[in-house]
């Protein structure tokens, strides 16, 4: 009884301890200039994507001006116009809306599946763990894009299907990371304490263990968003992703590539927007990893 009482504060204090880690990480991240610049660019892009319907002049990506046709970049149309006279700048911003949304939702789906799956697998251990991980291995050996293509071929090519398909193939690495973390955490005293206090498996996994895996999960999430955006763009480039009238950066590049010799700006600007976004996410992910992972830090110093 006195042992339980002695262990109790450990459980209570568990959420306190990481705050040191977080403020440390935050300080380190702020010192990483590339990561800060990347974060600022991403914030600006996201703000543009979110608020564009309320910004005058950016309201209608489908507004046509057939008399104008395709024009090279000018003061009136910064990124030029396409063959229907649509403004490429506005189209690029609205493409970003779709691309970022797909990236976000696909990542959330993968996060939900991956974290739960990995945590349960690692915590259960034994035969269950082995079977669950074997299944992950099998899915790994199938190039994930094929699974997406199969899903999109056999079912519909709707936006919702795209979210599901992309989320469904992205959770594997997340599950492995979380499982590894859980394996190393589950025998820690604070878990034993929670168990001694009569906490059930479910609450141990999701209230005590999962919050402690947040560091690597955040890092990997930052790297999953660009991966999902890239895959959406890849599928859209092939014509399997976002369907008209919606347009993402991938569809814009794809449409532009057909008219490459005539109107190169139709490829170049959406292409730059996509590449810069991916680059910023990668820089931010790298920066977060350096900030949150003490192991790497020792190597650098």
């Amino acid at each position: 009884m006195s042992a339980a009482a002695a262990l109790d504060p450990v459980v209570r204090e568990a959420p306190e301890r990481p705050s040191g880690l977080w403020s440390d990480a935050w300080r380190r991240l702020r010192r990483n200039r590339a990561a800060v610049v990347a974060a600022v660019i991403l914030l600006v892009l996201s703000a543009l994507a979110v608020f564009s319907p309320w910004i005058p002049g950016l309201q209608d990506p489908t507004a046509q001006d057939l008399a104008l046709g395709a024009t090279a970049p000018s003061a009136a149309h910064w990124f030029g116009t396409d063959e229907l006279g649509r403004d490429t700048f506005v189209r690029t911003i609205y493409g970003g809306r779709i691309s970022l949304l797909v990236g976000l939702i696909g990542t959330l789906v993968s996060l939900l599946i991956g974290v739960s799956y990995g945590a349960v697998s690692g915590y259960m251990g034994g035969k269950i763990d082995e079977a669950m991980m074997r299944f992950v291995d099998i899915l790994y050996s199938l190039p994930y894009i094929f699974l997406v293509i199969l899903l999109l071929v056999f079912f519909s090519r709707s936006l919702v299907m795209l979210f599901i398909a992309l989320g469904l193939v992205q959770w594997l690495t997340m599950a492995r990371i979380v499982r590894g973390q859980v394996l190393s955490l589950k025998n820690q005293p604070f878990v034993e304490a929670a168990r001694a206090l009569g906490a059930r498996n479910r609450s141990i996994i999701f209230r005590h263990i999962v919050p402690n895996t947040l560091g690597p999960v955040i890092v990997y999430t930052t790297l999953t968003v660009p991966a999902v955006i890239l895959q959406e763009a890849f599928l859209s480039f092939l014509g399997l992703g976002v369907q008209p009238p919606n347009a993402s950066w991938g569809t814009l590049v794809s449409d532009g590539a057909k008219l490459l010799a005539l109107f190169p700006w139709l490829v170049i600007f959406p292409g730059i927007a996509l590449s810069v976004t991916l680059l910023c996410f990668n820089f931010l992910g790298d920066g977060l990893r350096d900030a949150l992972d003490p192991h790497d830090r020792q190597d650098v110093s």
Partner: protein, 305 residues
Amino acid sequence: MFTFVVRRVLLFIPTLWVIATLTFFMMRLAPGGPFQSEKDIPKAALEQLQKQYGLDQPLGVQYSRFLGNALRLDFGPSYKFPAREVREIIFDSFPVSLELGAWALLLSILIGVPIGMFAALKQNTAADYGAMGLALAGVSIPNFVLGPVLVLTLSLGVFVFPPALWQGPASRVLPVLTLSTAYIAYIARLTRAGMLDVLHQDYIRTAYAKGLPERVVIFKHALKLGILPVVSYIGPAAARVIMGSIVVESIFAIPGLGRHLVNGAFNRDYTLVMGVVLFYAAFLMVLNLIVDIAYTWLDPRVELA
């Protein structure tokens, strides 16, 4: 070693079985069939078509026949082009994709590894930051953006290389470059990290202390371990190269397997898509086995069990 190979080969069977079963039932669950779009065909003709493809049989019969045929790489005729067997299409177009992919992978190792080593040896200098910044940019530029840009500059701008098709050595340059840039960059990053890990180890210090020339220490002692992350990346890289080659083949109008996969996806050509997917899955598993064997050869600390 022998038992390891046997065990791995035996594991292929359940893995391929799961994949085959998944695709088979996904295909049967899918709303609408491949013939659905041709609405005006008479009922008798539809039944004839269904019979020809064995779709009139009970599901169990279809399934077991499918598995049996898949074992012999026989996926039946293409749904869209009934005159052609899926196997024939695969065997015709795979060599093209293989050549494209092999060049891309080879190029990424031959260029990526030296860049990574260079960056590791100049750690935390401007050269290191420059190389790694470029590498991150290389990782971030999607190949379907890079491809058109390369065509625009090197083909339409100054005509150095043909913008499309797969005829003659010059036509190989742009597709291979488009496909390999991301992997050059990624392998450079991996090599740098691997070399940095190794260069701080005791046996490297010992090698220097013995008075060995730097060249020997780096190439003979450090590289052998430092390159391990790259070796284990070759498996996933091959999977990604295959995926990338789908896009590259469609940009440059290359008659490879990837283009058939995309066309099959558009035409809802079920047999073709399933055949290609199963073929690639088996191919990748064999490749991964070879990579694992190469890994133990490089790193004797790893035991194959």
